[in-house]
Symmetry: C2
């Protein structure tokens, strides 16, 4: 149980927490731009200093690029469970400046929103956790767990330093679970635990025909056109029901349980609004599933790019020498990237006629991710969300990948709980990024409740 004094502390310090948020957002910690290197160092110092003021013991680890901060609650108690809270202090580039209504590094309050680059992604979200822990520590309440904040400065440029850091610091980061608040919820009335992510696997398919582009008049009719062969192969990879037409492809796909489908059906979704937002004439996906299920819990095969022959103005009457396509598969639990790719490659080879040469290049892969939705950790997180936001908490999945989650699984052997505070209109990576002060406040309250809930789940 969270002591009333902790919740009172949060309430009575709101203005200071907002001031802190604005101070943090004022630092232009743009990791993609080398001109900001000293700003990133300054930002790392700021969050380390802020952690010390909150009562934690921070350490700054220099890296080849931007520092990593580890900040721990004092007096580690090995009998208590330990949780890692992950965040990143670096931000996306603010460009194009002209589309911002106010300067990106001068936080501007409008109603209950504060506008600034990086304020939602991710400064506000991990600062909310830090504020909640401060409330526990400053009120002399005994936390039921040990906490380790892990804040990096390269998330927007691929987390290179952290990926090297993790295997070397397994011991310092040993924990029972990781908490990441770097994603979103549908509305303030629909707080949600993201318990599943899709994986990804990329391949490039190249079909080669004639040794050079051929005159389509002189030679056309006697040889297969590599662009058409490619189209025929790709067209055959999806059936009329919207399923991936590859033998064995669905063998490892974990079906959605009735509980999951019920939960997902509670997520607010307006098909017409969604359609207009995407700018398509009509939605279309795998038959028998809702759009929310299609985009988060079902595998896909997408063409990301097509290249062949002449692409300039007007026409050029050739049979192109070759054609290529970039493809990505989105994978769901319990698919494995290597096995899924192998099945697709096998089918492409089977579909390819002997008149052309086929080359397939395998690209990067990432595993899908799932926390047991009815398990103790997930259910504890749902209770904390409900207590923090004042509304029943839902279970959601994300269609994309959050690569760091797989890194935590690989190196720390633990699950990650994704407890986002961002709202759909926060504009991360876009001009006029903002963070809702209501989400900030409720996120802090959720975090205050999270530690006893998660700790009790670990003791079961």
């Amino acid at each position: 149980m969270t002591p009333e004094s902790v919740l009172d502390y949060l309430k009575s310090h709101q203005q200071r927490f907002v001031d802190d948020l604005c101070d943090y957002a004022r630092i232009p910690s743009v990791s993609a731009q080398s001109a900001h290197t000293s700003d990133l160092k300054r930002c790392a110092d700021w969050i380390a200093h802020r952690a010390r003021e909150a009562g934690l013991d921070p350490e700054i680890f220099p890296t080849d690029r931007n520092p990593i901060i580890i900040a721990r609650t004092p007096r580690n108690d090995p009998r208590k469970p330990t949780f890692v809270v992950y965040g990143h202090y670096d931000v996306q580039p603010p460009e194009p400046f002209e589309l911002w209504k106010s300067p990106p590094f001068e936080p501007r309050l409008e109603g209950r929103n504060v506008f600034a680059r990086g304020i939602s992604d991710n400064k506000g979200q991990h600062l909310a956790h830090l504020n909640a822990v401060e409330a526990w520590l400053k009120t002399g309440s005994e936390l039921p767990c040990n906490l380790t904040f892990l804040i990096e400065g390269e998330e927007e440029v691929g987390s290179g330093s952290l990926q090297r850091f993790l295997p070397d610091h397994r011991k310092e980061l040993a924990c029972d679970a990781v908490v990441v608040s770097d994603n979103g919820i549908p509305t303030l009335k629909h707080p949600a635990l993201t318990y599943g992510l899709r994986g990804v696997a990329a391949i490039e398919v190249r079909v080669e025909g004639p040794g050079r582009d051929l005159h389509s008049g002189v030679f056309g009719g006697t040889v297969d056109n590599p662009a058409l062969v490619l189209c025929q192969i790709l067209a055959a990879l999806r059936d009329s029901r919207g399923r991936i037409a590859v033998p064995g492809y669905y063998d490892d796909v974990a079906p959605l349980s009735a509980y999951e489908r019920r939960q997902m059906a509670k997520l607010p979704f307006d098909a017409e609004k969604y359609r207009r937002f995407l700018g398509v004439r009509a939605l279309n996906g795998e038959r028998g599933f809702t759009p929310e299920e299609q985009r988060t819990a079902r595998p896909t095969l997408e063409i990301n790019g097509l290249t062949s022959g002449y692409q300039g103005e007007g026409s050029k009457t050739i049979i192109p020498s070759w054609a290529s396509a970039k493809l990505t598969l989105r994978l769901v639990p319990n698919q494995k990237p290597a096995k899924a790719i192998a099945a697709v490659v096998r089918q492409i080879r089977k579909l390819c006629p002997p008149t052309v040469r086929l080359t397939i290049r395998r690209g990067h892969g990432g595993e899908p991710y799932l926390v047991a939705p009815e398990g103790a950790l997930a259910q504890a997180a749902l209770r904390a969300l409900k207590a923090g936001f004042g509304h029943e908490a839902l279970l959601a999945r994300e269609g994309g990948s959050i690569p760091i989650v797989s890194d935590f699984k690989r190196h720390l052997k633990v699950d990650t709980l994704l407890l986002g505070m961002a709202l759909p209109d926060d504009n991360p990576h876009s001009p006029n990024e903002k963070f809702s002060l209501d989400a900030y406040e409720r996120g802090m309250r959720m975090s205050a409740h999270l530690w006893p809930e998660l700790s009790s789940a670990c003791r079961r």
Copy 2:
């Protein structure tokens, strides 16, 4: 009948004809390069002067770009038929210079070949006709017809000036048929009349899905991928027998007669050599037709280019906003470009799902061409070919288009006889272009025989 004196004249003047050919080829009349503008003028003067020496009355017509020459046999006799002989004095750019074994504008004799840019395409071929007519005129033999040489200087850059010239000079160019020697024959032992050409029609198909590239993780599964939709449409346009799967598409296709198929079967063809030359693993075309028939007398639908989404290095996990394809149809007699395009467009619209927006842009079109193979003109040309080359003459078709042929038909309302003298290894448009002196000599003899043969055909 061609007088013996004419043939004797040709024989006894061979060295001078070769010297003339080399002089002509020495002028770098590269129409694509403005640095050569004065060379083109010099070249026009050269051929006009040469025509006067041969006994013709030349006139030079200035144009916006390069002069056009008309040279007529003296004393026009309205009771005789008239033929126009077309040629072009401009040449392709010689680049890349480093691949030439000798400088492109310094003609080099090796065996029975002379190497120089433009010597086969097209200086040698129309000069052969001019030499033959000189032989008639200088020996005092009475030509059974009036002849009009029409030599332009912009064929390699689209014949813009000639296209404007033709409608304004219909009267001066009125004739019974046009003779063009600007193409090839299989070997010296297989002289051939090209009696058919394919037409062409171009379209561009664009499929638009989402209003912008979408994150394939976040949104993938709920919307159709425009690249895949495009592939499915294009794949469905060709059936497993290699036919164009468009209702009504073959309605206007003139079937090959038994005579035509017998004639085409006599053309030398080595499938394995042809396959190696194209660099494909295997030939593939419409079932039931030989490669020669497939590439010259059957319609095709080719993808010339594909464009969609990300085409750079690595991968980008998007659903592309749009995808497009450039297509060309090759048409055969009696297909009409507009009607063929309409049928394909109709089928594409039918195949396109309502989830995407479809835009089709119609490009240039050119009609197929056919001279009745058993008609009097074609048969007369075959007799002249046989007399000139000393071997049975064959009937052939070309798979490509020769746009000027359609212009002659449109403006002068006459057929064109394509009597090529180039050999397959002449390297037109490539480094080390050459012309065979045997083809030159036999071409002159063919031309000497051509005028009585064609004239008698016109009198029938």
